[in-house]
């Protein structure tokens, strides 16, 4: 059951889970009725009962309500959630598999978002960690609603880490809040130093950028300092870690980052 919309809807992949997507939500937006006035408070000339309704509602208000619901559930559980965003193939699943092996006995779970296939969830489950695959079909991003349903299926343990691997796409996922504590953008060194400049929204929204596949840097002309300079140009506050999910270089720093963020959230809640 969906805690925000109460719709009982399910779009998770897997046997018996492939039914359609019918929206039947109820609104939470506030509107004020102003009869007979135009935009600037001018009387509407023709009296054919045209009226102006002020809405002032975010187009993504419904998504944000779902995200807020997710955030509340995570907070109550003392869980810490990261939303991993990147272009396709920059190494999100590889990084997660490696991360899971380094997290010791911290409880964790994974939500995998892809347009098609169960491949990434299968790769995660092979490590023994619980994973739910969400297939978005034509959708180019996960939304708060999908993640809420996936969370219901995961039975998160208190104090968990929740890793959400978004659909590989540097544009759309930036706009959709999932209820996560931090967006982490992954950029692999073969993608080109100018990617942060071409897709600034994603790197503006991220707290941390992982510069992945640094093991390949010597074989390409990748200029790691230029990557960092461009990341800081679009987001002066962004943190950056240089990592290779293949060799393990930089992975301890990433795991430390996760644990310290989780601890800070727990402290903030207690205080």
């Amino acid at each position: 059951m969906c805690t925000v919309c109460g719709c009982g809807e399910d779009r998770l992949a897997g046997p018996g889970h492939e039914h359609g997507h019918d929206h039947h939500h109820h609104g939470h937006s506030h509107a004020h009725l102003h009869f007979g006035t135009g935009a600037a408070g001018v009387s509407v000339g023709d009296m054919s009962q045209a009226r102006l309704i002020e809405i002032e509602t975010d187009i993504l208000a419904k998504n944000d309500a779902h995200a807020l619901g997710n955030r509340r559930v995570l907070r109550a559980l003392g869980a810490y959630a990261v939303n991993l965003v990147s272009s396709p193939g920059s190494g999100k699943t590889t990084l997660l598999v490696k991360t899971i092996g380094m997290m010791g006995d911290s409880p964790l779970a994974v939500i995998e978002g892809d347009q098609q296939t169960e491949n990434d969830a299968d790769r995660i489950r092979a490590t023994g960690a619980p994973a739910v695959q969400v297939n978005t079909g034509k959708g180019c991003h996960l939304d708060g609603h999908m993640v809420g349903h996936a969370m219901d299926h995961l039975n998160l343990k208190p104090g968990s880490f929740l890793f959400i691997e978004n659909v590989g796409n540097l544009v759309c996922p930036a706009a959709f809040d999932l209820g996560e504590d931090a967006k982490v953008a992954i950029l692999s060194v073969t993608e080109g130093e100018d990617k942060p400049l071409k897709y600034p929204d994603m790197f503006t929204a991220a707290k941390l950028a992982i510069l992945n596949k640094v093991d390949l840097a010597p074989y390409t002309d990748a200029d790691l300092d230029a990557y960092e300079a461009n990341l800081r140009r679009v987001n002066p506050l962004i943190e950056i870690l240089r990592v290779s999910a293949r060799t393990g270089e930089g992975m301890e720093a990433w795991v430390r980052w996760l644990k310290s963020r989780h601890a800070a959230k727990t402290l903030a809640k207690a205080g």
């Binding site: 937006s29 509107a31 009725l33 054919s48 102006l52 309704i53 809405i55 509602t57």
Partner: protein, 113 residues
């Protein structure tokens, strides 16, 4: 981009409002779109026409109002207006700016009958 999802969000707002206020048709629907919202306006207009079919806003005029982009300059600690996401600070020329406004995507109002 996700203009289709945006159009679906607008459709949901229209349907909710029609239920709440009992109007039958939307003549004009006005959006406020921030400069940095990354909205492809032509794509959104196209998706709007498709997604509004069969509902109260079918055939409605879609108006989009631009909202300026604003950023806080880390060098001179002033909030400034910038036209492009990567513009330098117009006051001090600094390049470290944190956007503070301009990512809005709102339904402002609707003219209904």
């Amino acid at each position: 981009m996700h203009e289709m999802s945006l159009a679906e969000g607008i459709r949901q707002i229209v349907d909710d409002q029609a239920k709440a206020h009992g109007f039958s048709a939307v003549r004009v629907l006005r959006l406020e779109i921030g400069r940095f919202a990354g909205v492809e306006k032509e794509a959104l207009a196209f998706c709007f026409d498709v997604v509004m079919r069969g509902g109260p806003a079918e055939g409605a005029i879609l108006e989009m109002i631009d909202l300026p982009g604003r950023a806080m300059c880390c060098d001179c600690s002033t909030e400034v207006e910038i036209a492009d996401r990567l513009d330098p600070c117009p006051l001090c020329g600094g390049g470290r700016l944190v956007p503070v406004a301009g990512d809005e995507m709102r339904v402002k109002d609707m003219e209904v009958v």
